[in-house]
Point group: C2
Chain length 212, copies 2
C-alpha cells in the first residue's frame, strides 16, 4: 500500500489532509480510542466523509467494513506511506528567537525530525551552545551536511538574509527547505521549498474578520 | 478599490497570493525598486504573470500601462484592502518556548499585529513577566479581551490543551484564532481558525524528497 502511494503523483492537498488525519488520529489515541469509522474522523478533521473514505482507500486493507479503522495501525500506515516513519536529519540557519524556539520544540524530535546542526553568519553567535548544539559558521555547511547526512534545511533568518541562506543550503546539496523567513526564495526546479508564513494566516484572519 | 475587495467573496488562495505580493514588494523596497511591472513581480512570487495581472486588476488604478506599479502605493493599496493597515490586538494562550518566540517576533508589532495579553493555565507561570507582559490566568480572559479590544487569539499550547484554549477564547468573544498547536479545533461556523502546522510542511518535504 505504501508503495502504491509513493509511485503515484499525490497532490499537495492530499498530503495536507493525510497529515491532518495523523494529527487527529493521534488525538484519538490520547483518548484511548482504538477503532474509528470515517464519519467521526471526518468530523474531527473538518473534511467531508466521502473525501476521507476516498483518501483512506489507499489504506483500505486496514479498514474493517461496518467497524472502522484501527487507529494505531492507520497512523503507522499513513506515516509509512509518506516516508515520515524514519529519522529526517535537518540543519537550521538563523539562530534567533524563532530558531531557538524550534530547537526546543520537543515535537520535532519525537516525530523523527531531528535538528542536528545550527548555523548563523553573526560572528558573535558562532561558537555559542544552544540546546546542546554549537552555532557554526555557514562555511562549514557543505562538510557537515555530508558528514551528518542532513536532508532538510530550515531557514529562520530575517527576510533579507533568506535567499543567501537558501543558496548556502543548496550549494551543500540540500534540496528540501522549510522557510520561516517572510521572503520568497528563488530556487531551481529540483529544490522543494515549503513556506511557513505567519502573516499569510494573520492576513486571512484579519480580512475575514467582521468589519465594524 | 479597497471597498470593492471588501464587498466581494475573495477565495483563500487569492488572499494568500496578495500576502505573497506584499512580502515580495517589501523585498523590492529594500532594494530601492520604485516601480515594478507584472512580469518580474510574477517571477519573484512564483506565480504566473497573467494571474498577477488578474489579481492586481482590483488595484488597477495604481498601474501605469507599459511602466508598472509604484511599489509603495501598491503595498498600501493591498494592505488597506485586506484591512491589515491598522492595529490588530491579539491575546496568546500557552506561554511556552514557541509562545515566547512569537512574543519576541519583532515583525508582528511592526505589521500592526500586537500581542497585548498572554495567558497560561500553569500556576507556576502566572504572574511571570515575559517580554514586558504579565502571564495571566485564563479566567481573566473575558475581562481583558473587552478592556483591551482584543480581536485575534493565538494558541501555542500543547495539542491536548488546544481545544480548551479555543473555548476560553471563544467564550471571551474572540472569533478569529491562529492555532500553532498540532491539533484540529472543533468550533462553530462563526469562528475562523487558521492553522500554522509545521509538520504538515515537513511531511510534504519528506514525501517529495527523492527516495533512495
Amino acid at each position: 500500500m505504501a508503495d502504491v502511494l509513493k509511485e503515484k503523483h499525490i497532490p499537495r492537498a492530499t498530503i495536507q489532509r493525510l497529515a491532518t488525519y495523523v494529527q487527529v488520529l493521534e488525538a484519538f489515541t490520547r483518548d484511548d480510542v482504538e477503532v474509528i469509522s470515517s464519519n467521526p474522523l471526518a468530523l474531527a478533521c473538518g473534511v467531508n466523509a466521502s473525501q476521507v473514505r476516498k483518501d483512506l482507500a489507499y489504506f483500505g486493507e486496514f479498514g474493517i467494513r461496518g467497524v472502522g479503522y484501527p487507529v494505531v495501525s492507520l497512523i503507522k500506515a499513513i506515516t509509512s506511506s509518506l516516508g515520515v516513519d524514519r529519522e529526517w536529519r535537518m540543519a537550521l540557519i538563523g539562530v534567533g528567537n524563532l530558531g531557538k524556539a524550534l530547537l526546543n520544540h520537543g515535537d520535532f524530535r519525537a516525530r523523527g525530525f531531528n535538528i542536528r546542526e545550527i548555523f548563523d553568519c553573526d560572528p558573535f553567535k558562532i561558537g555559542e551552545i544552544v540546546h546542546g548544539l554549537e552555532v557554526r559558521c555557514t562555511s562549514e555547511l557543505p562538510r557537515l551536511v555530508t558528514e551528518e547526512g542532513i536532508e532538510i534545511g530550515i531557514i529562520t533568518t530575517p527576510p533579507e538574509r533568506a535567499q543567501r541562506a537558501a543558496e548556502h543550503l543548496i550549494n551543500a546539496g540540500i534540496t528540501a527547505i522549510l522557510n520561516f523567513a517572510p521572503a520568497r526564495l528563488q530556487v531551481s526546479s529540483n529544490v522543494t521549498v515549503e513556506y511557513v508564513d505567519f502573516f499569510n494566516h494573520l492576513y486571512a484572519l484579519a480580512f475575514r474578520h467582521p468589519k465594524d
